[in-house]
Structure formats: C-alpha cells, structure tokens
Symmetry: D2
Subunit: 435 residues, 4 copies
C-alpha cells in the first residue's frame, strides 16, 4: 500500500500536487453535486495491471504490489485499487475478465479464477460502497484471438470467446454492474485478401445477440455498449465510429439493448472530434458511457493520455448535460500514465489531472447553458424552419416541384453569417472569465 | 478543336504518348469486351470547365475554346467534349447542371440556360451514340450554399436547391441518364457551435425523399446515388463514408432507391482503402457507380489525380466483377490534370493513363479469379463454419451457454496462419508475371 | 467604411462582442505593456483582399469597398485597413506586393502600380503611426509561377520573380519595414519525375543570396525570414519545417541574415506542435517572427483559423519571452474568417478573438515563469550534468572507453519519473486558477 | 531447424510459394548480378527474436527454437538464422547487441554474453561466407532508457549507453561489419515541459562524436549511420527526417563520417515518400544504407511490412543506381511478418515477397534508365539554365537588379507543361509492359 491518503479539494491556489484544485465533489453544479454528475470510474487494466510497456520497450513500473503468488498479486491489485478509489473519491470501476485474476492452466481454471476473484471484488464493494460501472471480456490479447474472436475464421475461437463473455457477464451481474461493454479489439481485418467480410459481420452480430439473450435471461437489466474504434490493433476495426456502430446495431436489430461507450482518443483516430461522436450518439438516442482520455493529434496511435484539455472536457460535459446526464453510464478514465511517469504518486496525480479537467469542463458547460448565447444563436439561425415554407418542409407538406416554383419566385436571398468566431469567443470568455 | 485524332491501342511496346498501351477496347476479358466491362465516363467539370486553379493560384489552362459569348463558350465545351470522348472511345459522361450552361441573371434564367443546353447535349448524344451516365446539381459553389443546401439553416436556400435538383433531374431524364448523383459538398458543418445536427440530417433525408419522389413520378427508372466524402470543403460532411451512408439511407427508408457512388480519393480521406469502401457497399447490395481517381496519401485534401496505381485498379476491378459488373453505373474519371499539365495534350494523356491503368486492373482481376488461389484460400480459412459448431453458429442454432460448455471441453485450439504475405505474393506474381 | 468604432477593453464580464475581454493594451505584463509585448500585425491579404472562396466555392464577402476602378479599390482597401487597425489598436501590418495594388497590363505597369500604392501606404503610416512589420512578394499565384519562382525550370520566370522581389524590397525599405519574408509557396515539387532537386535547391539559395545582397546594399537593416511549410500548394515544399530551413540556411551561408517566420498551422501540417517549431528556432538563434493562426488537426490543409486555443498561445508566449521578446518580428494574424463569417463585423470579432487569446497566453506565460515550478523541475531533472561524470560529458572531458568503464562499476541506476502529468496539471492550475 | 531447403528461382509462372518468381540472383542487371546490386540483409531482431506481439496482444510465434537455457536459445537463433540466410541466398545480416545474446545479471555479464556470442557469430560467418552489414546497440528497450540514452536527463544512463555502444562497436569490428547504425529510438521527447532541448541535442552530438572517435581509433573504417524517424516510441524524435539529420550532422561536424540509414516506413511517417528521402540524401552525398519495408499509409504507426509495392521498389532502385550503387550499405529487410503469419514458412514467404519485389524494382529501374525518356525530359525541362540568363544565374554572374531589368524587357513568357501524367504513364508502360 502506498502512504498517500485522501485527496482533498484545496482550491485553485493550492500548490499541493496531491490535492484537487477544481474538483470539489460536494459542490452543486446544475442541480447535482459534481460527484453525482461526473460518475468517475477507474479503469482496472491501466491502473492496476499495466506496467507501461510500449512496443519498443519493457514496463517501467511494477504492479505486483509486493506479491509473488499469482492469486496474491491479483488480490493485492484489488486491495490497492479500492484504496486508490477511496482516496480519490472515485465511486466506480470497470474491468476486463483478465484484469482481475491470473490465467489458469486451461480455460476452465482461468474462468474459475475470474469467478473466484469476482467474489473477492464483491466483498471489497460491500466494504467500500464502491460500485461496478461495467464489465467486459478481453478477447484480443491471447494468441488464439489473433484473427478476431466473434469474427475469427475459426469457430472454436468463437466458442471460447463466448465462454469468456458468459463468465464476464456472470461476474458483471454478480457485482451489480449497470453496463457491459464489447470492445472489438480484433473484430476487423488486417487484409481484405484473407477476409470474408460478410460472414464476419454477420457472426459479430450473432455473437452480440447471443450474449444479449444470455444476459437478459439471467437478470441483467443494464445497458450493453459497443465501443467505436477505427483501427489498432487491426488495420480496420468493424466498429469504426459512432455512425458505423449505429448503422450496424440497427441493421441487426440490436439498437434497443445496445448503446455506445465513446472514447475520446478513438474519436480522433477516426477523424472526428470527441464532441462530434457524442452529439451523433445523443441525437440517435445511443449515448451510453464515456471513456475519457485524450490522444495526441500528431500521433497516429492510441495514446490514452489523461484528459487535460478543458475545451474538450467542456464540450463533453455540454453533451452529457444535453443527454440528460448519465443513466447507466459514467466517466471512465481509460487512460494511462506516460511511460516515464513511473511511480504510484504519478498515478494519483494523473487521476487528479483528469478529474480537475472534467470539473472545469462541467463548470464551464453549466455556465454556457445558463448564459444562453450559444443556444439562442442556434434558435435564431434555424428560425426559418418554424414558419412558412420551412415549416412545410419540416412537416413533409411540400414537394419538389412546388419548392422549385417557390424558389423561382424569390426576389432575393439573404445569406446570414455563421458567426463561428463570435461563438468561439463566447466560449473562451466563459471559460477564461473566471469559472 | 484540337488536332488530336482517334487514340488507338498500339500495345505495350509503343512509345507514342497518344496511344493506348494496355486498353484494347475490343479485347474480351471475363466474357465481355473491355469497353463493355469498364464503362468509362468523362467528368464534364474537370475535363471541360476547370482551368486548374488551386487555393493559392489562378488557372493555368483556358477552357473557353476560343469563344467569348457565354452560351458560345458552353456550346464549344460540349463540342470539344464529344470529340474528346469519341477520340478516346469513352462512351459515357457525367455532369453538374452548372457545368453545361452559363449562369443567367436570376434563377429562372439560369435554369432555362441549363435546359436549353441539355437539348443541345441531346443532339450531340444522338449524333455520336455517347450516353449520359449520370447527372447532378452543383449546390455548393455559389455563396448562397455556404452553409449547405438541403442542410442550410435558411429554408429559402433549401428551396433553391430543390429547384436546381428538379431541373437537373429533368435534364437527366431527357438525356436518358441511368443515374442521378447527390454529392453533399456542403451538407455538413464547420462548427458544432452553430449546427442543429438533428434538424440538418432530417432535412437532408426529406430533400432526398422529395427528389426521389419527383424523379420516379416523372419516369426516372435509374439509380440514385449518394457519394461518400468525409470532409472538404466542410470540416465534417454527413456522407462521411460508405458505412455512414448506408446507415443513413436505411434509417430514412431510402435504401431501396439509392446506391453509392464511390470515389477513390474520398475513401482514403476517410481513412479507408478504395477497395474497403467498394467491398462494404457490395456486401450490402449498395454498390452503384465509381468515381475513379487517386489521392496522395501524404496530402490531406482531395487531389483528384488520374489513376495510375495498378494494385488499386486491380482490387477495384475485382470488386466490380464480384458485384456482377456495372448495371446502371460506370467508371467516371473524376480526375483532373495536375496544375502544371496545362495543355489539351496533357488531358488526353491523363485519360489514357487512367484507361490503361484500369485495363491492367481488369486483366489482373480476371486472372486472379481464374487462378483461384485467393478464393480457395478464403474457403479453406472459414471452413469451420460449414460444419459442426460453426454451422450451428451460422444457422442460429446454438446459444451462449451451450457454446461456453463446448469451449470448456475443447482439448486444444489450432490457430492457423493468416498467410497475408503469401496472398500478397500471389497477387504480385499474377500482376507482374506478364498480364 | 464600416461604422464600427474603437474596440475597447471591457473586461471578462462584458458580453459586448465588439470589445476586448482580456486584451488590455496598457496593462503591464513582464515589464512591458501587452501592446509592446505582443506587437500584433494585420495580414493585408486575408483581411483586405480575400473574398473567402475555397476550392469548391466562390467568395462570400465583397472586398471592393464600394469602388469599381482598380486603383480606387486598392486605395479603399488601404483606407479601410488603416481604420481597422486604428480601431483595434493593431500597430503593424504585413503585405505581399500583389495585395496592395492592381495588376497592370504588363510587368512594368504592375510594378509601377505597386510602387505607387506604396507611396500611398507611406502617407497612411505617417497619418496613423501604424508601421510595416514586413513585406513580401507573391510569387505563387500567377500561372507563370506554376512550377515555382526561384525554383522554376524556366530561367525567365526566375528573372520575373527577381524583379518582383526587388520592387517588394524597395517598398519595404520605403515603408520602414523591419522584416522581409520569403514564403516559398511553390518552391517545391509535385513529382520527383520531373524535378531536378539539386538544381532547384541551389537556385533557391542563389535567389535568396541575390535578394539579400540587393537589400543590404540598399539600406535594409531588418531581418530576412523564410517561412516553413511542408506542403500545399505543392506536394513537397522545400522549406518543410524549422529544422529543414535552418539546415538549408546554414548550408548556403545565409544564417547570419535570415531568421524564421513561424506559422502555427504550418507547424502542425508538418507533424510538429507550434511550440516545438518555436523552441527549435529559439535554441538555434533563428527565432524571428510569428504568423499566429490555428489549423484543425483533423483537416489536412491550411485552414488559417484565428487563434482560439489558450494552451497553445500560452506555449507560444512562453517561447517569445524565453527568446527575449520580439526584436524585428511581431505577431501577424495570418488568419482568415471562416467562409460563412461573411461580414465586416465578423472580421472585427475574429481579430478580437485572436488578440484576446494571445492576451490570455501572455498572462499565463508570465505567471508560469514567475511561478517557477516548471523551470525548477527542469533544473532538477538535468542536475546530473552539472557535476561529476555528467559535467565531464558536457565539457568534452571524457571518452567512450572511460565512460564504459564507469558504467560497468555502477552499482545501481535510479530512473526518475518524467512527471509529465504533474507538469501538465501545474499549467492547467495556473491557466484556470484565475488569470 | 525447419525442413525448408534452398529457395530457387523458378520464374514468374511457378506457383510454388517457396520459390523466387522474379529474383534470379545470378541474372545480370546494369552490369552486376542482382545479388551484387541488391545486397540483401536479414534483420536479426524481427527474424530471429520477435514473437510478433503488438501493444494489445502477446506473441503468436515461439522463437526459442526448442531450447530453454538462455545461451542455448541464442545459439539456436544464430543457427537458424544462418541456415535461413543460406537457404534464401541472403548474404548479409544486421543486429542489435541485445538480439544476439541473453541479458546477464548485471551490465558486465550482459556485455560479456554479447561478446561471447559475437565470437560464435564469427565462426558462423566463416563457415557460411555470410557477412555482417552493420551492428547497433539497443538503447531503448530497457526501463533505464525510458527518457533516452544519449539524451537521458541522467548522466549515468548516458554512461551505460556508452558502454553498450562500445561493446557493439567492438563486436562490429570483430565481425567485419562495414557499417554501424544509431537509431535514436528514444532520443527525443514526450513533452517539452520536461525537456532541455538544447542540452539534449548537444549531448546527442557528443555521444556520436565519442563513439566515432572510439571506433576510428580501433580500426573501424566503415560508415556510421543515423536513421531518421519522426516519432514512435517518443512523441518527437530528434532524427525526424533526412533533412533534419543532415542539418544536425553538419552542425556538429559529423557529416564526414556519418551517412544515413533510410527506412521506408519512417519516411512515410514523416510525411515524405521513401524516394524523396533517398533523393535528398543522395544529392547531399549522405546516401548510406536502406531499411527496406513498407508502412500502411492509413495507419499512423510503424508497421514494418515486407515490401510488396513495385512502384516504390522501382523508385528506390532508381536512386540506388543513381547513387552509384551501395558501397558499405545494403538493403536490410527491417520488416516483420504480420502477427497472424505465425509460422516459419510465412517467414520464408515474406522474405521471398520482399526479394521478388526488389528484383522487379531493379529490373524496372534499369529499363527506365536505358529507356531514357524520363532523363531526357528532365534535361529539356531545365535547358534554360544551360545558356543565357539561366547560365548566368547558375554561375553566380548576375545580380537582382540586373535580373529585374531583364524581366521588365521580356516580351512574353512561355510556361511549359510539367507533363506529370505523361511521365507516370511512361513508368507504368515500362513496369507493366513485360519486365
């Protein structure tokens, strides 16, 4: 155990690295406390498992927490994790099956280990009041998944993936998780030359359907999520972006049970802003949960940085508020320390950075909505669709030929400014005018 | 008129720049002549209109063809264009309304000019036997469309766009076009701050629906196409990529009448290969027509280069063949000469380059299919889904729990090589082994 | 003339769009007023010339200022421009030869027009106290420059470019400019197939050398700048980035007279952060002047947005301060309104956005330096190079074999955290803790 | 040992996966055999060490070659490697210190292991006639190098890196290598906030200087190479691209001893074509050796694919020929099998793919040079610099004012086509017209 105690809110003037400067859990913003609004979650894998290797180098931090026996290591991870969450005031966590327990000598033993450790986590939850946000199965790391899991060309691999998902769902139910995530890490292809695109997409849908049916039959009432990512590790990932995922879910009749778990870094890798992906999900009723992290726009891979950009966190919080807040979802820090940040203290500071960044975003978003200039401009801009010819268009009461006639009779056309710089300056004025 | 006559097939050893080296129009490949298979089309805008400006410089080639009066210029464009197509043996063309006629002093006059010139084109078609592949309306160049056309915040702009599409559809019907394209150049946004995403998407669908209804009521039996492009000129274009477009068309019930017009350069700007976009459209029954061009992977804008990469044209032709060949669609060279290629001779040579590149692609694709190694490998790879547990998965005859049980009983799992380098070497052997 | 008067500082709580919220020109920051520190400049081309076309559409704003005769239009541009600068309190401007005067019917007439208008600008400067930051020649827009200017394969084009630069230098001297810029818009290539790389690079150096010699002989004591940009309009631009430019200037002995004019959007197109380019120039003594704008990381072309990102402006201001402030250079807004922002009011607001963004950056940078945590951490981190073996390395007093021996004798190696998240949180605390 | 024997040239019609289709080692091209021209080398790390993990998954192939004791494993790697090279007819190899021997329990033991295994490799070389192309030290994988080696903020790490390089140089000399490479994997930064840019660049130069001095003093007569790469693993790597590296080497007086080892995938990650980087090195006399691989333009990380694109290999071979062929350098396959290609047979096939691709490139390049159209066009294009005003420019015999006067007197200016599409069609005609 580290000797770092509870992290307290000390305000913006504090220079204590181990304090919150902006995140004040009990401060009420938009009718709820920050803590209730933001529903922060700890990512088990990055926080408790990853030694921070990269493709060119070994890990820089040891996360065996002083233990050597496999099961002891995983218990120590859990112990550290719950202390860490308690110290930070993080109320939720998210895990993959493989994060919480050691591999056994065969599938059955591995799954048994996972179920055993889930019981241990249940006791830790009870003790601490901390909850499970969502569970998932890691069906991408082992060699057998090299060509996918639900989209593997090998039906036995599909079956093993199913077994792992079954156990992960069982554990999620046991732990009262309100969500279950599918990140299709290798559900995609490296080359079209060896890929049966149609069969793989159909199989992916069949897999999700079976998992949904199993979970619903066993009492899971939460949300299922798929998580868009365009590429990495595969060249092309089927869950490319929000639009692709929504299309897929609707095509296969999964859109009633599934929503999206949207990650910042995945959005930008797909060529979208984080806020675009959130807005698109929202207007389609598919906004679910958030993996809050940041990429580096100049790097072409998933960097999973802790959030530090307040403009982005502001836009994200605007979308959370506009979606009516989180229901089953929350804000999971799917983020890791930079490889050179090789201490437990860095880990605390990284979470503080992320939580402060989202506190600032929430405060700014709340102010933007109360200020009203952005929303009022939007209403004015589209006013022509609330009367006359515009309303007829919206109400499906006019046809092309009638519109054409109307257009020929128009005397002039007034093209109004989009006012982008004005709106950007309003945002800056609010963010920097003293939150 | 230029003094360049008919371009003939002279074979690979010819050094005459104004001859085909690989495109032999009467050569039978896969049961049809190259000419029938490839259905080449001339893009009116690049070929007859663009003076090759870029954002930092003026045009480098004059395309008034020696005329000064507006209508004379456009007649001269048509005359040159039909001669150009005849010389090259290109059987189809594609146009925007604004490409074929001069602007009038108001909308009515502009539309009248377009209809007038459509009659002229009809006479040129009759004379030459050349056909219209598809028509479209340019609803993005004029100032009034700066915030979109069907997605403009101004309902009057929506109406003017409708009027232009009505005329363009009328002309397409008059000219016997088998397709009608919507490229949503500015149907997107520059900033989410001033955008009502839901209203704009709904309006886009309403616009397409009205246009479809009008065209069908007036005897158009061809295909409608939307054309995916992720960005440029807008920051985000609603028709981002094939997956997004298919999702959109299905959501709004337009997928029975609409297919996709897929462009190479747009695919790569969206982070996809050209062949990915084609394959995805194909397996969804949405493969329509092709805008054959190339981007530069190291440049982030639409370069619209003439095709020169034979590996890509091979993959494209494989997809055309697998889709059963073109029906209403064809292969339009939506490509322009480089700005330094400032002569009519360059224009001929550029088309020759493109046509030879696709002839090579067609020859290679035909050989690949006849060779069988790629297809056979695919069958073998997925064989586990044709029997046993795999077949049960495909036939929806097994559930998650049963699969989990099956998995626990598996003694071993055999993970077969994906053989990517082997398959790539097969492709190279076929392409370079003497087509 | 617009009826917008002087823009005043009204503080962060003002909602008047036509006021500064953060830029308080007389406020002293770091020993000088904001106005002295930031040396804002107006870009003549974007501000007074561009009608905001893009490659897919015509202009959206008319900048003839109510005039029709060519010379009248350019005088009206100047009149508007000086009023605009006066209203905003912008003390400097930058221009291309072609920005300030109409084309004549031949080169001589064009150059005479430029010299004539330069006299006019001189009178405007005298009247207003506004100064010229730097001049330049537009040797990329006309057809003749399609293959470059100093790097054209045509020696006559080289000569014409020389003539234009001579006049632009003459005007810069006349107007008391403290800088002269070379942006090599088409000094690069589209294809290596038709490019003599060595000759072109040598010619570029010869051109700069001749220009320098001419200007120095005629009394120019200011700085010459080359401006890095990696691509666009050409596929490859020779002045790719800061490192490339410094190497080039040193190779050809130009580094005593030339510094760099560094642009934000060009930096990111080259795969660098703006601050990287500034820092690299600074440590090489080549920091000159700044083109302050922003790109969009998700778009692959030069968007020339007005600055709005305070984190970037903070890093830029940190570098300006560390370089000892501007000497001959300044902060030019090489930025244009978004195409939908089609009014003069938008233009004012865009400059206000940019100036407020840099005011915030300056305030934050000053605080960061006074705070000391970033700088102190840096000193501590590299302390091992100030004593012992580290100092021997720095002082060139040790060789490889001795170091190897030393290393073999080391008992342990202590690898300290890079503390990146901590440092990022310090930056955020300072920026958002109330500037 | 695998049971795959000698790989033979069987010609383009062979469908034997384990045969060369185009690489005929004894075929004379351009005055030398293919084998002499191409100087293929095996990369020790990818070929003999990497189990093909990626950041999301474990290895898929075991490369312990049936052994368990550390030193036995490394001897088995060497044995397999020499058999592999012999079977393929690959005459050279390249290695990192860590590739060839197991880690010891401290630095001294590790270095001793390396020296011990170097002796073993020497015996293998003697036996087989296979030679060392170049050696290098892996100063990036271990935790201690997390912040760089020569640019580490910790002087002790600098010393350890020096010790490793000393041993790697000793081994390179022992094995008769004609090159020694520095790839600065972590010589760069992740954040400017914690980086002393100037000190790090100075230290990097000091390190290279010391290494050079040591090697020269100990009889090394070969070339030193630095290897450009823009990023990954670090955000910014100091050896960004060829232009940056040349500037750096010249600044620190290292350009007489150092040349460049240029990698295809690194070029494209930097925003350059492979051929651009080669051409730039060549005209600066810095062309050294080649790491032949391919990236995926749509992926933002180093994929290290085996070469398959013949257009690229053609351009590369053109540059090799224009540089006068390899002297101390060669063509190293710094490439790895795709992760799904998990067999030794795949490894052979991947090398065959690469070797055939370069054989095709060499054949095409030789034809292009003999054909003469590309070179002749180039001469014609720049002819204006061989007489008159152009020659005066090249000979430094004219000044700006005289050029300006000349320009004013020009009656007209003739802007010739760049003929890019024509030149591209010539290349295609040669490549696809039957090599």
């Amino acid at each position: 155990m580290s000797n770092i105690g509870t992290i307290k809110y000390e305000g913006a003037k504090s220079t204590n690295p181990l304090s919150f400067k902006f995140y004040n859990p009990t401060q009420v913003v938009g009718g709820k406390t920050m803590r209730e609004q933001l529903k922060f979650a700890m990512s088990y894998w990055h926080t408790l498992c990853s030694g921070l290797p990269d493709i060119f180098g070994e890990g820089t931090i040891d996360k065996s927490f002083g233990k050597t026996a496999p099961m002891d290591i995983f218990k120590a991870k859990a112990d550290f994790g719950f202390e860490f969450m308690k110290n930070l005031g993080v109320d939720y966590y998210c895990f993959h099956d493989n994060d919480i327990a050691p591999h056994g000598k065969n599938l059955t033993e591995t799954l048994d280990n996972i179920q055993h450790m889930a019981e241990y986590l249940k006791s830790k939850q009870k003790e601490s009041g901390i909850k499970l946000l969502w569970g998932t199965a890691n069906n991408f790391s082992e060699k057998m998944f090299m060509s996918g899991a639900a989209t593997s060309p090998n039906a036995d691999v599909f079956a093993i993936a199913a077994a792992k998902v079954k156990t992960a769902i069982d554990c999620t139910i046991l732990l009262g998780g309100t969500g279950y995530v599918f990140w299709g890490g290798r559900e995609g292809y490296d080359s079209l030359l060896n890929t049966n695109l149609k069969l793989e997409l159909d199989n992916l849908a069949k897999f999700l359907t079976m998992a949904r049916d199993y979970a619903r039959a066993n009492g899971f009432n939460g949300d299922f999520y798929i998580e868009p990512k365009p590429k990495e590790p595969t060249k092309h990932q089927y869950d490319f972006d929000v639009a692709t995922c929504i299309g897929f879910l609707r095509q296969y009749g999964l859109d009633k049970d599934f929503k999206l778990n949207i990650e910042g870094n995945h959005a930008t890798l797909a060529g979208h802003t984080f806020e675009h992906e959130l807005a698109l999900a929202r207007i389609n009723g598919m906004f679910g949960s958030i993996d809050a992290n940041e990429g580096d726009y100049l790097l072409g891979w998933d960097t999973d940085c802790f959030p530090k950009d307040v403009l982005t966190s502001t836009y994200v919080c605007l979308d959370i508020i506009r979606a009516g807040g989180f229901t089953n979802g929350g804000l999971n820090f799917d983020a890791k320390c930079r490889r050179q940040s090789n201490t437990i203290e860095d880990l605390y500071i990284a979470y503080i950075l992320g939580m402060d960044t989202y506190a600032l975003g929430l405060l700014a978003a709340d102010k933007i909505i109360k200020d009203g200039r952005i929303d009022n401009n939007l209403k004015t801009r589209y006013a022509s669709y609330t009367t006359g010819i515009g309303k007829q268009i919206v109400d499906n009461k006019i046809d092309l030929a009638t519109l054409a006639k109307y257009a020929r009779d128009l005397k002039s056309i007034d093209v109004q400014s989009g006012k982008q710089e004005y709106l950007e300056s309003v945002i800056n004025n609010i963010i920097y005018g003293g939150i």
